[in-house]
Symmetry: D4
Subunit: 185 residues, 8 copies
Amino acid sequence: MSDPLVGVLMGSDSDLPVMRQAIDVLEALGVPSEVAVLSAHRSPDRAAAYGREAAGRGLKVIIAGAGVAAHLAGVLAAHTALPVIGVPVKAGPLQGLDALLSTVQMPHGVPVAAVAVNGAKNAGILAAQIIGAGDPEVRARVERYKAGLGTEADAKNARLQALGIEKYLRERSLTDSWKDAAPND
Amino acid sequence: MSDPLVGVLMGSDSDLPVMRQAIDVLEALGVPSEVAVLSAHRSPDRAAAYGREAAGRGLKVIIAGAGVAAHLAGVLAAHTALPVIGVPVKAGPLQGLDALLSTVQMPHGVPVAAVAVNGAKNAGILAAQIIGAGDPEVRARVERYKAGLGTEADAKNARLQALGIEKYLRERSLTDSWKDAAPND
Amino acid sequence: MSDPLVGVLMGSDSDLPVMRQAIDVLEALGVPSEVAVLSAHRSPDRAAAYGREAAGRGLKVIIAGAGVAAHLAGVLAAHTALPVIGVPVKAGPLQGLDALLSTVQMPHGVPVAAVAVNGAKNAGILAAQIIGAGDPEVRARVERYKAGLGTEADAKNARLQALGIEKYLRERSLTDSWKDAAPND
Amino acid sequence: MSDPLVGVLMGSDSDLPVMRQAIDVLEALGVPSEVAVLSAHRSPDRAAAYGREAAGRGLKVIIAGAGVAAHLAGVLAAHTALPVIGVPVKAGPLQGLDALLSTVQMPHGVPVAAVAVNGAKNAGILAAQIIGAGDPEVRARVERYKAGLGTEADAKNARLQALGIEKYLRERSLTDSWKDAAPND
Amino acid sequence: MSDPLVGVLMGSDSDLPVMRQAIDVLEALGVPSEVAVLSAHRSPDRAAAYGREAAGRGLKVIIAGAGVAAHLAGVLAAHTALPVIGVPVKAGPLQGLDALLSTVQMPHGVPVAAVAVNGAKNAGILAAQIIGAGDPEVRARVERYKAGLGTEADAKNARLQALGIEKYLRERSLTDSWKDAAPND
Amino acid sequence: MSDPLVGVLMGSDSDLPVMRQAIDVLEALGVPSEVAVLSAHRSPDRAAAYGREAAGRGLKVIIAGAGVAAHLAGVLAAHTALPVIGVPVKAGPLQGLDALLSTVQMPHGVPVAAVAVNGAKNAGILAAQIIGAGDPEVRARVERYKAGLGTEADAKNARLQALGIEKYLRERSLTDSWKDAAPND
Amino acid sequence: MSDPLVGVLMGSDSDLPVMRQAIDVLEALGVPSEVAVLSAHRSPDRAAAYGREAAGRGLKVIIAGAGVAAHLAGVLAAHTALPVIGVPVKAGPLQGLDALLSTVQMPHGVPVAAVAVNGAKNAGILAAQIIGAGDPEVRARVERYKAGLGTEADAKNARLQALGIEKYLRERSLTDSWKDAAPND
Amino acid sequence: MSDPLVGVLMGSDSDLPVMRQAIDVLEALGVPSEVAVLSAHRSPDRAAAYGREAAGRGLKVIIAGAGVAAHLAGVLAAHTALPVIGVPVKAGPLQGLDALLSTVQMPHGVPVAAVAVNGAKNAGILAAQIIGAGDPEVRARVERYKAGLGTEADAKNARLQALGIEKYLRERSLTDSWKDAAPND
């Protein structure tokens, strides 16, 4: 496998079921990535070192997911000039609103690119788009991926028109992707 | 001047005092940009066309700022595979919380990279970082910019140690940048 | 069946269990409708075309339901002069507050008529009221429907007075409509 | 003047500076309206009577604006089968968030069509769209109005391209409409 | 049984499991009450009549519980000079925050006495306190009730000291009141 | 003057401009009151003593206003069986939302009757309603007061019909009550 | 066992499953503590006495956990000059946001040291840090504890690198600590 | 002057007018402190070094104030076993709610002691209380300070009783501390 271009980090291994969606979509888009558990608060020196060394190791983008007072993305952004994508992870009683504000409300000079709460899949796509800014092949794969979304939506609509609501819902409830669909529009 | 690499869009010309900060910082970082007023709701076809043609015209990143039900970044993202950065603009009674959620909570498949409410300056820096992923010269300029932030913070601290609080505050209040400093950390 | 007067759209087929309540109440009120899965972000051209062609195809009202950064109703409203009703759908960690603000906080000039989070049933009634503005027969059906709500509330109260709390609650828990009652007043 | 088709109500005369925007846009769209101060809490019988008699008097739509615990639109909707548009008015320490939730979160069976906080102008446009559902002439005027929004946005953009940011902002600040522009996108 | 002094109203029979706690505590405090299902939106004339006739029928206090856009308490308060207690009921996606703001944020001149979300038990105690303002016997019963709360808290503490945490928790989990304890302090 | 029936307390003298509205309306309703500055946190023993002695001194109702973590009403309620009305006062960056939740969300057994943020006037009216539950003369005064609200609303509406919007707004802006009107409906 | 240095208080025994985490971590850090159920509202005199006597009894820190209108920590802080740590406990429909604001937003002069919603474990660590300010042995134990957190994070990361995501998640789901991990970063 | 025991840090010099209140109250309580401008994002290595060296340099407590995505306190806490007090500073459109959640919602293992938004004065008092845990003289000064708060509240109340409301407010408005009083209770 090629050298990783994207580092997918998370503050706790309990974030892994969410954050792996970034890794999966990056793989589908042909972008090699690496994964690490790395806490802004429990292993701060390792986090700082990761940030400092990332560009030198050939990484192009960092994705950092964390819950509650989600400082991980901001700490990474403090130590690298690479673009950092922050994924607020839903955790604890405030359901991710705390993580969202901690991630997105960065001060002047040190941006983090925030995606939706639990939006790890979109973080992966965004990372591929960023790499695509300098790599036409990746950009073409993202374009095909986004076109595919339209095709899928069209197919669902066609199926709904063909089956009618009752039958569509009955067949739909047999698939396992139903519950995982949100966030969607 | 070179061809623009970043399109800085806004839903209303009342967003211009905020959004020009993106243009200014891009200029400081040596990244050519263009600006347009373009509404997701009032001029939707022009917005869609802008998205569809952006990559072909050589743009690498789109920055879209909007207030209240801020749909502009999402609509752009629907029409291009380029990375789209969304700036929620503070406007109206809800102070930008509405624009923040409308911008960041994008559904699976169509990411927007959100920055802080009124965070246009960071949107510009993020755009430069994205371009830097494929352009070592731009990346070097971003690195120098971020290093400069540290130097500036160090200088302020040194000055505070030298002058003491009373004198520092007295001299500080004579400059016009005081009120505009937030969001900062 | 007659030609549809109301288009009931949704951004994802996972919204269908909520949105079908609009279709059901429209049927009960004798207003023909059509249904479609149509995403502002994944199939934007189809969404724009739907908006542009709606009036010409004889539609009188559009209902659009979406969750998270719910842009669908706004995008439809950008492409048609027909009244557009937006249904914020509860989805994801923020429970529909994001969808509510994205739907209701539309900018000057391009209104969306928002109903409650998951308020698809009310969206259907509102669509019938709008059609009733130009169709006395539909208005009469809405009047009968609303009168029926009072009769139903009166009957529940009479039953509660007759049975007492304990017995009322015991019999109530045997029916399947209990959980689905909210939003109610 | 023709008989009024829209009743524009408000809970307090302090809402008048906001609510008059509905009346003004209705006049611009050629839809006759009437205005009244009418409180759900201080003059409830007059409010109920207004609702009961509205359809018989020839009204087609009711617009009701109120702040804080904004019950006015809901109370009207309880007494009429006409479509009722609710305008949450910004008032008091919670800045209209209370009025928004009180207006939009109506229970099953009794919809209110909510617009943005202080969105009285959009309420007027929506009322014209509703009347346009049964009146092609009004619909044509709404279409022209919405087309005009696009033209205006295009003109602003053209002017910005011609003048550049500095000069545009300087000339812009001389007009009095600048501050009133929000909510916009 | 004596004539009722307190009317316990609710907008929907789905509120009954919450609102019956008011009735139960009133009974425990020797205050006779009556119960009714009565909607501000579905049976507005009955609600208005209830308010107008309440004082004449000998009622001293009205308790009104409702969810979402909870207008019931405000509508009652518009039709009576008796004190009205509002209970925001948790219902729907916003979890009662909408009902709380709709209930408590009443305009000048027409107060509602709001208690916590789902705080029907406290509404009953408050009603007894209000009646106790003119009835020493009821006041004495409330005093004994509140003293009993202290005794109960003391007993729990003594038991915890005697058993230790492990044993206390084991025995505690065998009782059915555990989950229902919130809201508590 | 008669002995006070209502104690109007506040945590800080900075709350006095808001809380005096309770005293003024009580005076207008012929209910004697007393006023005190009394902090749950800075003078807790005096606060506890006030609560313990209130009923014995002949008080019938306590009104307690406080901002931020507004504990004052709850602390009073812990020390008396009299009804306690809480006024959340707008203070500090969170604008009274903190005070509202601290005041209204009381645990089972110890109610506080909350009014709107800065709703001191309504607190005074509510106190009079409570006293009116045992005093027909006070109740009659409250009834006249509430009837007067309707008359005032009717008069404003009549004036608006007579003058038209332009003239009404011009004359209205000359009075000093305009800005103070919120919270209103 | 030594005399307790920390008092761990809670407003209700339903808070015990959360608050015991403070006691457990204090034990692990070698800091003796005591526990009590003690309500600001139901047993206010006992709460006040606890505060007044705490320093004299040799306590160094008080931890107070409470839900909803969480006044307990503030009431303790009113009666002692010892540092008081407040734990907002998740309880009731607002999920702890009410308790958080009631705990943290204390007025000038009477601080409470707030931790996260349900953050009892951190309250225990913070108490040990405070005691460590005057006790080098305790401080050393806290240092070892915090170093251990880093070691644990490193070990999890090493294990993830060794096993890969699939295998790591499979083995992880067999342990019972998975769900309880939040709040984490 | 003695060696500093408390480090008062802030992320930006625009926080100085708020944060100096901590320094002032520490001085009043006889606790020597030092001040520094130190950003988690712009000067991360200096921040980390400060945390690592703080205990060795004799500091006992760290106070860290920051606005928006306020990571500073958390980053300090990651690098020291000393107690860290976080002050969320009001800055930017979200008014400090973002800073509050970023500061208080720390993950298990790494506590921050949060005070109110802009609560720097209380942070100073809390720091003195922490030092007082090991220093009887400081504790005695805090006790005198807190007793003084009660005396001041008593004096204000006595003055209000003597002057009456009108006269009290007139004299009060002549002092400059009126507006700055919040947060208070």
